[in-house]
Every structure is written in C-alpha cells, then in structure tokens.
Amino acid sequence: MGKINFIKEYFKIAIKSLKARRLRSWLTIIGVVIGVFLIVSLMSLSEGIKTALMQQLKMMGKDLIMIFPGEITDMATMMSGGLELTEKDMDAIKKAEGVETIVPMNYKGEAVRHEGKVKTILINGVSWKDGMDILKNDFGWSIKEGDWPVIGKKEIIVGSAVPTDVFPGMKVGDEAFISGRKFIISGVLKSLGNKQDDSTITVDLDIFKDITGEKKGAKIVLARAKQGYEIDEVIENIKSNLLETRKRVRGADSPSFSVLSSEKVMDIVGSILGMIQIAIFGFASIAIIVGGVGIMNTMYTSVRERTKEIGIMKAIGAKNSAINTIFLIESGFFGLFGGIGGMILGLGLAKAIEFAVKATGNLYLQASITPQLIIFSLGFSFLIGCIAGYLPARSASKLNPVDALRYE
C-alpha cells in the first residue's frame, strides 16, 4: 500500500477523532478563524487602499515637483491646513534654476447654490493658464461631459460626483452660485478615483481668490522641471532659493517646507502604507499564534484523554510514526479548517466593506484578493496548526504502551 493510501487512512482516523470531540474541535477552530479572519480582511483592505492610492500617484509625470508648507514627516501639522506658501515663496520657486513653470493650487470650502439648494463644497483654485496641462497630463483629469472652461470666462468644472450625489440633476450649461457669484458649468470631470475629489468644484485661481478673499498664497505649488535638468538638481535649487527667501523675510524662525518629486511622494506614501501593513500583519499574526496555543492546549488535553486509546493502538501494531502522524493531522486540520473559515469570513468582510465604501464612503476601494494572500493565509494557519501539534503528537507517540494501557 502506498504512503498516500495509509496517510488517507490516518486522515479518516483523525477526522473520526475530531468528530468525537465536536464542541472542543469547533472552539479550537474558531480560535484560528479569528486570527486568519483578521489577517485576510485587514490585509486585503489595506492592500486595496495602497493600490488605489498608488494608481493615482503613478499618473503624475516624473518631471513634476510638489512643494508643501511644513514637514512631510509631520502629517498632523500639514493636514491642519494653517500653513501656506506665500507669494514670495512662489517667486523663489519660479526663479529657481531648471523650473519651467509653476502651478499654485489652493482649496477652501464654500457655499454653492444650484437650483435653490445650497451646499458647502470644497473649491479648488488652479491657474488654468499654467495648470491645465499638468492636470490633464500628470493628474489624469479628463472631461466626461461638456468642455474645459475658457480662460477668462466665469466657467467652472465639477467633479463626477457633483451632478449625481451633491446636486442630483445638475448638468453642463447649468448655473451655479458660489458666494453669490454666478458661474456656468462648462464640464463634468471623469472620476478621479475617490469620492472626495469627485465631489469638488475647480475654478481658475483668479476666480478662487475673488470668491474666497484669499488673495495671496497657496496650499500646494506644483512645479515642472525644464527638459535637460535632473529632477533632484531642480529640487535642490528650489530648496535653496526658498530657504534664502524665507531667511531674508522671516529670519532664523522661518517655517519649514517640503520639496518632493512625484516619485518621492510615491515612496513616502508607499512606505507609510507598507509600515501600516506590517503592523496589521504583526497584530493579526499574534492572533493566529494565540489560536495555535489553543490548538496545542486542545492537543495536549486530547493526548491525556486518549492515553489508553494510544496504548490500544500501539498494542495492535501502530508504530510511533503512525501515532505521531494521526495527531499531527488532527492539529493540522485545526489550522487548515481555521484558515479556510477565517479566509471566507475575512474575504466576505473585505468585500462587504468594499461595497459599503463604494456606496457611501469617500474612497473607491477595491479589496485586494490575491492568490498569494489566500495561499499564504491557508499555508500559515496550517503550519501553525502543525507546529502547535508537534509537541503533543510527539509526547503521544513516545508513550510507553504498557503505561498507556494501564492509564485510567
């Protein structure tokens, strides 16, 4: 009889034994299910978020440089929105060697009225003259309906979610009022990849200044490097120009800034998300290991309870390796079944969150369900099951047949 055949028989024996202890078997499996469920759901969601963000970032051209006020490493300060780049900063950026053009960008929430309904929407201010190409080519903006606004006219473009979610029924050619000023909707953008961006209105920077009263400064400045210049070289030039200008104006206490290439932004975002994923993986792995301790506990209890059974099996000809294999199969089963259960629940939750976020949320999230994730989670849980069962199985196989038969 082939090795596979007797392994099959040991499988049958192991399953019968697991069935005989149904409740305990289920409780042990649930311990593993929780760990795998956490790993699968969190990993697939975080990978999905990473993919969505990276896809957006990849659209940016390699010759694009972003200048932010504050330190990129200090997200809280940057996000608070209090910092901005001044007109002098922008001049310094523009004059830096290797800079072809700059596009200041600004944003602010304003009340928008359309057919009697008023809602507060984020308004982006971009210089059409300098920035339209960058938006089209580097940020992948394109028009779904209508046309790009004509520079100098009071025309605006709206994100794809504005006519559907914000002002249902809004269409190209409609009038909209921002801070009491009338504008014509010239076009609707294709989706930008997340609902937050799709729910904004974009206007020319001059119009933005008029509407908001924020005449000076910008929250972000985009700069394009001239052809023939190394991007890192241009970044260094911008940095030194900005530093010089700021020191001249504000002295030693000049606020900091960040100058990053689009690749660097991708690196930073990628590494932050990668660290988050490692943390998620670490915590979820601990949950699986706890499940493994549960398996070990169950297996030791099982060995003690079945000492006489082990003695009988040895008396009727079972070798140590047979006993060892039967117990290892049992513990491996706990791991594998826990893995399958956890994977199904985890993928189910990830998909449910994906649909919920798509329906109501702010991000177009696609839960990442890869064969690697499935193989890994099943393999890892099975491995944990086998490792957890190794010592109990070994102790079972090493039992002296006479002692085992005499055990009551």
Binding site: F6, K16, K19, E309, A315, I316, G317, K319, N320
Partner: protein, 242 residues
C-alpha cells in the same frame, strides 16, 4: 514435540519507584511452544500481567532475554516491536479495549491499516471475522452499543485480523457473566484447536484452566508450577469439591 515460539531466559522486570527498586519478575525462565494453549495464573500482584506484557512484546525486560521464533528481540526498538506485535500477536483484554469512536467493523479493520493491508482485503477479512463470531448484524454498532460479550467477541475478531500466530488474552472473562465467559473461552479454544493458534491466557480464575494444556503458576514474580498434568488434576479436584 512442537517447536519453541517464545522463550524467556532469566527475565527480570524491576520497576524504579524513586530510590526504591521493585522487582516484579525475578529471573523467569519459560518456553512456550507453537500451537500450545497456556494459562498463566496467580494472585493479584504476582507479576502475571507484567509477564503477559513481556510475552506480548509490549514491554522490555530489565534483565534477561526474550526469544521469538529463536530470535532475540529484547534489544529491539519500539517500532520493531510494534511491527512484530501487529503481525504476530493479537491481544484480548479484560476491559475489551475497543476504540470507542469506531464501530465493530472499523475496530477489526484498524490493525490491518497499521500493517498496510489493501482496503478491499481489509473490509473483506473484517466482515468474514465478524461473521465467524456471529456478529455481522452488529458490524456498524459502536462499542457503547454492544453488550460485554459482544464487545469481547469483537475484540477476539480484532485480535485475529492480521492472522497472528499468538493470541494473548488478559482476563478475557473477567468482565463477563459465567455463561458469556464460557462462550468466549470456547471461542478461544476453537481457535487453538482448529486454527492451531498459540493461546496465552492470563487469569486468576481456575475454571479457565481446564481449556489449556499448560498451566503456569506465578507467585511473587517467580514461576512456582509449570506443569500440565499437575494443574489439571488440581483443577479437577477443586471443581469436584465445589
């Protein structure tokens, strides 16, 4: 005279209880011949169960040698002994010792799995054995659903599943009423007579002795009688008195 099957030479079994050494068997010399029916008798604590475990290769002696078909097996590893047990020795226990998760048929099949018998042959052989003990209708019942007598018949059938030469029975009637006990002993006797199996029965019940040709009396870890005629006469005298 038939050839020697199991031979014990100056076998000692000493248990270590902390610092105290407890000799349970003290220099046993014994020869069991092929095709014989041997009864080992003795009071509780005499060492008869320990002797049975050594004869069944479930244990190894502290000192001395055990020969099986002329081969010294005292130094064999646990796996080597397991292989010999599976092929050459069948056990019948007082507590029946059937696996509770398995039904009667599966219990009989189990020793064959460990000897890598092909699946079809296993099932066929197990069904035949069940039928020979008139247990075919109880094939799919678990031990808990069988009477003591039925369980012991399944246990005897299991002991025969690999067609061993030796059947070792430890108090096989100990948990049965006298009429069921008689049926079980008749079954073992049949195996001895018809199939020429070597039967070793360990008991303290003198009524069992009349089935055997060779009665070994053990006391305080030593054989005090090993004679067919002597014990047979004694047993007959005792049974007349009662």
């Amino acid at each position: 005279m038939s050839e020697s099957l199991i031979k014990l030479e100056n076998v000692w079994k000493i248990y270590q209880l902390g610092k105290i050494e407890l000799p349970v068997l003290k220099g046993i010399n014994l020869e069991i011949r092929k095709g014989s029916f041997v009864t080992i008798m003795g009071p509780s604590g005499s060492g008869k169960s320990t002797l049975m475990y050594l004869l069944g290769l479930l244990d190894v002696p502290t000192k001395g040698k055990i020969f099986l078909e002329g081969e010294n097996v005292s130094g064999f590893s646990e796996n080597e002994l397991a292989k010999i047990r599976g092929q050459k020795i069948g056990f019948v226990f007082q507590q029946f010792n059937l696996l509770q998760n398995l039904n009667a048929l599966e219990n009989i099949i189990m020793p064959m799995i460990f000897q890598s018998v092909p699946e079809l042959e296993r099932k066929e052989r197990a069904e035949k054995l069940l039928a020979s003990f008139d247990m075919q209708k109880r094939a799919h019942h678990r031990p808990g659903e069988l009477s003591g007598g039925e369980q012991q018949r399944v246990a005897i059938a299991r002991s025969l599943s690999n067609d061993p030469e030796i059947i070792i029975a430890d108090e096989p009637t100990g948990n049965l009423d006298s009429s069921t006990g008689k049926i079980i002993m008749e079954a073992l006797s049949e195996l001895h007579k018809k199939e020429k199996k070597t039967i070793i029965v360990v008991t303290h019940d003198p009524t069992i002795a009349h089935y055997s040709q060779n009665i070994i009396h053990i006391q305080d870890g030593q054989i005090i009688h090993n004679h067919f005629q002597e014990e047979k006469v004694l047993w007959e005298q005792n049974s007349h008195k009662s």
